[in-house]
Amino acid sequence: MKDRSHIPSSEVTPEETFLNRRFFMKSAIWAGSTLATAGLYRTFSPRPEVANTGAAIATVAEPELQTALAADEKVNSFTDIAGYNNYYEFSTDKSEVAAKAKHFVTDPWSVQVGGLVHKPRTFDLADLMKFESVERIYRFRCVEGWSMVIPWVGFPLSKLLNQVEPMSAATHVAFETYYDIKQMPDSRYAGIDLPYVEGLRLDEAMHPLTLLATGLYGKTLPNQNGAPVRLVVPWKYGFKSIKSVVKITLMDREPPTTWSLANPGEYGFYSNVNPKVDHPRWSQAHERRIGEMGSRPTLMFNGYADQVAHLYKGMDLSADF
């Protein structure tokens, strides 16, 4: 072994250099760990603002329609509506959908309407824009327990269905969302079978409140909100309001629906907003209105009971949830 006491002085690190090196190392560790911690936090924290880049849609007034909100209910901001989305084809992280759906191609588009109808037809975007547009400010209640108020632009679904003339045997309507794993690579993590499918009873589909939305805040829909055309059924949980619709099929039986296929004990075909029927894993009695800190009591049929309760007369809504 080398005799320690005889290290030549040239090999000894001068104290100053040693201290400097240590100072440098410590600073590097401080900076590195701070960047790593803050960077990790930033990766998983919400994204910033979203701009409304849609094209304007002209609407006509509907003075006779009654969908008034309570005095203390405010319309949510565009950033809230377009920056917080459930669209599992793009991401299961609601604050990430806007970025992931940015390059989704929605033009050209076609909606194939068929099944039990006398005049099956495919509608392209121009055909859809020919329907007279109206603005409808609806509450939107997600099954997860949050809600918003959204100024949709669109037209009643009944107008489109009347054009294809449903046969008398038709009792239900099935809907399907566009699906392309190349445009939606993160759909692999969705944990649900795709394409996304939904359904309504024909009388629900024909109800004047049921909308095919092509826009919000006066402009065409952002991709993350279901461009170019989506369903809006304001008295049902949000997942019934299927996005980016490519297929509408009239049927003589109840069509399968994505969430009840995924978990039949938790999600039913009807999925009407109902504060008295809890989700097995959480209560539905209250909701968090986006933009507010406190919680609000959830209203029966999301506050549209006067208009829709008659559709479910005599039904046990805890069995047909």
């Binding site: 240590r22 190392m25 410590k26 560790i29 401080w30 760990s33 701070t34 911690t37 803050a38 936090y41 930033r42 998983f44 924290s45 919400p46 994204r47 910033p48 950033t79 809230d80 920056g83 917080y84 599992y88 299961t92 609601k94 604050s95 997860e144 949050w146 993590y189 969705a190 944990g191 649900i192 995924a262 978990n263 809890d278 894993r281 959480w282 209560s283 968090r288 986006i290 933009g291 800190m293 406190g294 919680s295």
Partner: protein
Amino acid sequence: MTFSADTRFHRQLFVFNGLLPAVLILIDGWRGRLGANPVEFVTRATGVLTLVFLMLTLLVTPLRKIYGWNWLLKQRRLLGLYAFFYGLAHLFTYLAYDRDWELGTVVGDVSKRPFIAIGMFSFLLMVPLAVTSTNAMIKKLGGPRWAQLHRLTYYITIGGVLHYWIIVKSDVTYPFFFAVVLAVLLGWRVVASIKKARGRSATG
């Protein structure tokens, strides 16, 4: 002084980095930048941070045994206290914003929803560990008994991962990640104890 002997530096580093996420959440909150649903974000962030710190406490022993980083042991209780701190923040967020401070409804929520029950139980198990995290308590309990009590961390962490897994609607990517990390951390211990037992029987 070498890096591994600089305990004061380690402590500063760990205290700062453990507190940093909480500070960033507060800054984002103050600037109104916690997204559309701040309550949901804070709930999820504090929950995930609890799991992260629980995993880090369980990482100390393997790192010591594999790399000889024994200096980590002196920071382990701090990591555990951070797990407790974020767990407490998670619980407060739930009580304040999910329950609106109506504490009477918590009992019903716990009994009706298994994931709440598992989360609450895991948190309660953390309380005795936080209380006994001082030097005086180690002395009072005696090393072996203290260590035995603190093995509750295994059950707390398993409970935490289950709690996360059950609440997710369909995409289990993140809970799965934590489950894998936990399986590796616990699996390493099982293998290490088997090896140790074999070694003992071979020599004895």
